[in-house]
Symmetry: C2
Subunit: 245 residues, 2 copies
């Protein structure tokens, strides 16, 4: 069930069988989330680390008057709150989009894990760095890209991330967000998202129907998005490259 996580970690470094087994065994319990259910609210304090196993989730922040911004999309294999137990209180909320399952790794268990398998510590740190890199790209996205570029970019990112954990089928992948939610992720109104998506369809770049995204021409979509996958750091095995150096 933590397959996706292992697959992701292996983009950083090859894992031994013992390490893989340790990761697989890490979650003490698994929790089921209903669609729309909150896992965490702003201000909560956590003492475990949650890994998303199946489904989609959103990390979001709200303003006092209700405006909401989605600050990350969480897909299987992603951590919901890596190391967040070090913070006094969490600064975001986290909600499931679809029904979802999360693996709960208690803090002590994580400590044991990295003590027993030192390379996993680096792997987890790397996960945090990638998350941060994605956040930076999102700042660029909302700050500089036009609506069309923004939407195209979001679709490219999601597709690459899902492909990295084996959740694409050919040119297709799941995309269970409503247009309102897509708008909250891109800093656009729902109406404008609708028109923008239609434009991408009209250009023959994508189809989006029934919670499923089809990318007809990924290179073209990437060009339209000014997308370059480097920031996802999935290109492979940076740990190994380091060793050789």
């Amino acid at each position: 069930m933590t397959q996706a996580l292992i697959r992701k970690l292996e983009a950083f470094t090859a894992l031994s069988e013992a390490e893989k087994a340790a990761v697989l065994a890490a979650p003490a319990t698994v929790r089921q989330l209903e669609a729309r259910e909150d896992l965490t609210r702003e201000g909560d304090h956590v003492n475990a680390v949650n890994v998303l196993l199946t489904g989609f989730a959103l990390r979001y922040k709200t303003l006092a008057d209700g405006r909401r911004q989605i600050v990350s999309i969480i897909v299987p294999g992603d951590f919901c709150d890596l190391r967040a137990y070090l913070l006094g209180g969490i600064d975001y909320s986290l909600a499931a989009v679809t029904t979802a399952t999360v693996g709960i790794i208690p803090r002590e268990r994580l400590d044991q894990l990295v003590a027993a398998h030192p390379r996993l510590r680096d792997a987890l740190t790397w996960c945090g760095l990638v998350e941060e890199a994605i956040a930076r790209e999102w700042i660029l996205n909302v700050g500089q890209r036009t609506a069309l570029e923004r939407a195209a970019h979001l679709f490219c990112e999601l597709f690459h991330r899902l492909r990295a954990v084996g959740l694409t089928r050919g040119k297709r992948c799941e995309l269970p967000l409503t247009q309102t939610e897509l708008g909250e992720a891109m800093g656009l109104s729902a109406v404008h998202v609708n028109r923008t998506v239609q434009e991408l369809r009209r250009l023959g770049l994508i189809s989006l129907e029934g919670r499923e995204l089809t990318i007809h021409d990924l290179p073209m979509l990437e060009a339209a998005a000014l997308f370059s996958p480097a920031y996802l750091h999935l290109a492979g095995r940076s740990a190994e490259r380091l060793q050789r150096a």
Copy 2:
């Protein structure tokens, strides 16, 4: 010279004299940067960790056609590239705004440091989490806030962060960014920044002249910005609170 860093870390946990001494001694060398000089470029690979000791710096990303987005403002005590040696290549560039000095901590030295003082490892991880929290708030900023709110928010954040490391004098602090740069940080054009700053002045909330920012009424400015300092995680000593729990 790493005073600011120590001060910041102490917002997470009280440090022993030995730990403070270790942090002070961490930088193997100090490098001087000219105003506008790049420390890092997209794609670079680093094998050390740089701490900003004096001056201001910017982390930024660019689009193929030249659009530029500043993704973080780095003030004394902040890391320029914490743990970035784990990445295959860096996904951002980093430039000094003013003349600046950075302390260079080689990777091995950092490893020794956290091995000798385990609590410092958590402190550094905490720094990374705070950085990430700031990035999330910036997504919210560009995604949802109006131009006026955005500018007010940026000023509030900077003031709080500088105050935390002892770099404010009463209601004043340095702010050496040009209006063009402020625009690149907020996703606004330089012209619009100008009009927005004037509006904040007209409201009597701030003065901004000669690279110096004065906040006449911080509570009012915070209200105008929908600012709440929780995300900066400076409220103190989360490590201690954890222990008591």
